[in-house]
Amino acid sequence: MAVDPVAFTAFSPVLALFAGVILVLIADLVTKDAASNRKFVVSITSATLLLAILLVAKTNDLIPSETVLPMFKFGIFYQIFSIIGLSASILVIFSAAYDFTVQKDLGVWASLLMISNAGGIVIAASNHLLPLYVGFELMAIPIYGMVAYRKRSREATEASVKLFLLGAISSGIIVYGISLVYGATGQLTFAALALNNSQPLKNVGIFLILFGTSFKLSLVPFHWWVSDVYVGAPVSMVNYLAVASKKMAFAFAFQMFMISFVNDTDVWGPVMGLIVILSILVGNGMAAIQNRVMRLIAYSSIAHAGYIAISLVAYAQATGLPNESELKALALYAAILHIVANILMKGTLIAGALIVVNSFENDHMENFRGIYKKDKVVGTTMVLALFSLIGIPPLGGFVSKYFLFIAVVNTNTTLAWATAFVFAIGSAISVYYYVKLARVILDEPSNDIPLVPATPLKALMVLLTVLTVFFSVIVFFITPQDVFSTLF
């Protein structure tokens, strides 16, 4: 079977990433010391990621039809989620430069980052469970290595073991679920899965996939690895986990549930609703009592994963309503908005935490006292990020939460109402711990240890904050219809 040249065009972003992998590995070999190694690797990686973004944005028109690559679909969904993952990774590589400072081996880490990103692109482009699963593993496996990258660090190793074991178990459960779905339907393309009627075997498969996915999305009750991993892993790795890879995992969840199992919403919808409610309550409740900032971020990201998954609940509940397609479009739109907003605000917050943790060697909340007095840029951007996470208008977090509210309340079912009220209560609890952290940041400093200099990272934080502030102006250029028209 001859390979169509179109395949190369379609996969040019992935190929660009693999070229970047080779380049950074060479950079590791040829550079003389750690400083120049970092400079080379960061610039090569960010250039590669930018090139990949460009290719994702530009090559879409060149792909003629789906008959050439039947397992893939290159549409707006692919573009949006690929660009989300890739641009979040640019932030990650900039922050990684402050984490791995001792040896001249950042290149290996960066190469894993790019491979993982390639997996994310494959997820977003899939139109079939086979590439979807391969992309998922391609994204996940490098992460285990990335967490354990500091070989001598006991904390990082422990975090990596936990992440690896739970990740492996969850992917095992997912693949078993896929096998049951295959047995029930005999098909694995999304369109075929959507057409088939529900059968007991398929339902069991869907539940197994749902539980496995919940592990990856860190939703309650499959969340207990999150806090340990976030504390143990290097902070830039946390940035990747919370900001980039989890968003790609959401792309996986959306491909699975919104597109493949679109006609089985009555099977997974209620369970998803329960999982979302638990995630919001447990995530916010646990975050409120934490004294270590990374643990606080971990629990708050569980809550935020719950917020994003509200879109799945809204999507499921919209089935059968008169304006079903509009409501579903709105649900996906709201999810994308919250994912983007979450990258902006959580990225800023974790980048700020990285600077503090590298200055103090640990993440106790006491070390964050007076950050604003020590460094106006870091303090201001972090406080704005916190207020955006609460959902204070006109910041980004507010706009996306507003749309999530619209999406879920509009479906007007009991579960939707329960979710909306839990969402409100959870947001109110989150005020407590976000404001507590903001207050600590704005307080008088309790010591005079300076922060490490990190100009490029700070510039990036400022950029993200500006985007957060003007989020409402920017996002309103894309409407739910644009997103939805490509899905069906």
Binding site: L130, G145, R295
Partner: protein, 113 residues
């Protein structure tokens, strides 16, 4: 042979795998259990494929999709095991053991507060 026997076999293997994951304390044994889960899925894929082959239309790939998926799962399981074993070696270097039940420093640091 009946299809059900294969499905029962894979179900038993899956259950043993889940049980192992929940009860075993050594990292290697948990990895074994995960491999069991993956292989039970493979049995499903291959069995279902043989059963469905006569009814499936489409290209060659479509007709052998279960077998293809099983191959891919084997490859991915190998990759996963390779990374996992490397992490376990690193674990052994740092902690001098691979009994994950005994490794809870991160949880302890929470109790310090």
């Amino acid at each position: 042979m009946e299809l059900e026997w294969f499905v029962y076999l894979s179900l038993i293997l899956f259950s043993i795998g889940i049980l192992g994951v929940l009860t075993q304390k050594t990292a290697i044994r948990i990895l074994f259990s995960v491999e069991l889960i993956l292989n039970s899925a493979n049995i499903n894929f291959v069995a279902f494929n043989s059963y469905l082959q006569s009814t499936t239309s489409g290209t060659v790939i479509d007709q052998y999709m279960g077998w293809v998926f099983a191959m891919v799962v084997i490859a991915l399981a190998a990759a996963e095991a390779a990374v996992g074993l490397a992490i376990f070696i690193s674990l052994y270097r740092n902690f001098r053991e691979i009994v994950v039940a005994n490794i809870y420093e991160l949880a302890e640091s929470e109790e310090d507060e």
